[in-house]
């Protein structure tokens, strides 16, 4: 049996008077881009401890999109993350950039959640905030799955606009977005409530405001457990995750035979001769 489709929750019908309620889902991630030099062990595996924890890059674009909608239409921007208490660091950063409220979902029972369970937990937290619009980064750099955003939309019964590079609200209160569809760029108009996943092609996050930075230096988010968001524990953590990791291998960089050539005319000639001899060049 297929689970009953979620009812569309259109919380705030009259959006013109009081502005729009936006929620942004963000994630703190290890900076996988920094995997060079220092973070590489001699055997070619990764020293994760050497990687700094950062605000997932495309979630920054998502936050900016929400802030710019607030600039244009009024309303509020709430930011939600799921993770360890240390993830509060990116929530403080969101406050310093202008977010109105921040929430941390943290619970040991949420550990080992795959994308399906994660999207369930986040959808429960987001629903509690009764938004008109939800923004997610297109994907996180540690998993690169791009699945959690669309799956939150499905669970909330919100319209999905994925891969958005530009978002605005038109005079009818519809979300107009430009989205990258691979072969080109599509412009769409979508009724609210809607969830948008925002790509790195969108505007970068505005800089932190010095006053807000000082004001929220020691700010703590509202902390929610799975009970606080009314989550069904059978859909969270390991129990709610259909996928199992059966094997993990570190990538060991290894080539075949290696031949060095000198950085001079002789070397260049020898390399070209080798390419011809090996039939690499016809």
């Amino acid at each position: 049996m297929r689970p009953a489709p979620p009812a569309v929750r259109n919380y705030n019908m009259d959006t013109t008077k009081r502005g729009l309620r936006s929620v942004v889902c963000v994630k703190q991630v290890p900076d996988t881009k920094q995997v060079t030099g220092d973070a590489m062990r001699p055997d070619g595996t990764i020293n994760r401890a050497a990687l700094p924890a950062i605000f997932n890059p495309e979630d920054r674009n998502a936050l900016e999109a929400a802030l710019s909608v607030r600039d244009a239409c009024g309303g509020t921007v709430a930011v939600v993350t799921m993770g360890l208490p240390a993830a509060s660091a990116i929530l403080r950063e969101a406050l310093a950039c202008g977010a109105d409220e921040v929430y941390l979902v943290t619970d040991r029972r949420a550990a080992a959640s795959d994308t399906l369970a994660t999207s369930y937990i986040l959808s429960q937290a987001v629903a509690k905030l009764r938004p008109d619009l939800v923004f997610c980064g297109r994907q996180a750099i540690d998993g690169d799955t791009a699945q959690v955003g669309p799956q939150i939309a499905e669970k909330l019964g919100f319209a999905l606009v994925a891969y958005a590079s530009e978002v605005s609200i038109d005079e009818h209160g519809l979300a107009v977005a430009r989205r990258d569809v691979g072969s080109g760029v599509e412009t769409t108009r979508t009724r609210l409530p809607a969830l948008l996943t925002v790509s790195s092609a969108a505007a970068p996050l505005r800089p932190r405001n010095a006053k807000l930075l000082m004001k929220y230096k020691n700010a703590e988010p509202t902390v929610w457990s799975l009970d606080d968001i009314g989550a069904d524990l059978s859909r969270c953590g390991k129990a709610g995750s259909p996928t199992n990791v059966s094997r993990v291998q570190s990538v060991v960089l290894a080539g075949g035979d290696y031949r060095a050539f000198s950085a001079d005319e002789e070397g260049a000639k020898a390399l070209v001769a080798e390419l011809v001899a090996s039939h690499t060049l016809g």
Binding site: D114, D144, L160, S183, R189, V248
Partner: protein
Amino acid sequence: MAHVNKNGEVWVFAEQEDGSFGNIPFELLGKGRELADKLGVKLGAVLMGSGVEPLAAELGARGADRVHLFDHPRLARYQTASYSRLLADAILADEPQICLFGATPTGRDLAPTVASSLRCGLTADCTDLQIGSYDDPVAKETYEGVLHQIRPAFGGNIIATIVNPRDWPQMATVREGVMKPLASDPSRKAEIVRRDTSALDAMELPTEVLDVVRKVKTVDLAGARIIVAGGAGVGSKENFGLLRELADALGGAAVGGSRAACDLGYLPSDCQIGQTGTTVRPALYVACGISGAVQHVAGMRDSAKIIAINTDPSAPIFSVAHYGIVGDLRKVIPMLVASLREPQRGR
């Protein structure tokens, strides 16, 4: 969620746009054929669109046994709500055991939506798929004939094998350019199964597509036989001119770059090679000023021959290279170009 159905077909989503296919449906059919044969089941292609029946024959020629045809005017352009509704209903009705999608913007929109509505697992961006067994260490059970979904993770620094032995269908998106398509064989015919699309007649779609602007692809990296690629070490957009000269001298190679080069604005983002860009496997890959971060290497390590040119002899790129020159690319490339242009080269 559908239950485990060992007789279920292997399905691939045959993404089309405006009545034509990219390469990905054929790549999925190539892999899907292998999986279906191993499992002894049929390979089905899911074809959705408006007036797309003429496309079905090509799916048969590329390996499909059956084409599940969803034809409706409201399917003319991809929309999450319409496509996901029909596909989820069809999966519940037929219980295919495996569903594969291209890891394209559309596949990565449709697959998670369907997986969420069916509450089944989904693995993103697989680079290999195999049929094998799985020993569940907790439940102490062994499952036979499950789909091993193999993908890079953690920015390409690890390779993970994912299984979902219980909540079927086993769904995965598959990275473009990785699986090998079968050659088109027009003597192979697929059975066409016309599927009910009446659910769309009265369906309210939340999104309206206002406009589509086609992007002219600046480079075809996935299909290139020779690629000259540059990284942050190239130093400037202007210096990429040197790489283009080398590409010319190599008989018209494609020019691409690492994420660093694209982030620095040396190249447009569709020229990016690596874990988050295009995966390539050319006959020859010339890496110029590329340090060889794992996320880059993940997208080019299957190249038949790799040449690394870098000033830093300890750069990781040398450990995957077959040929290396430690030196300044601004000096080395012109010398290579001169050697390549010599009429008696290599003799």
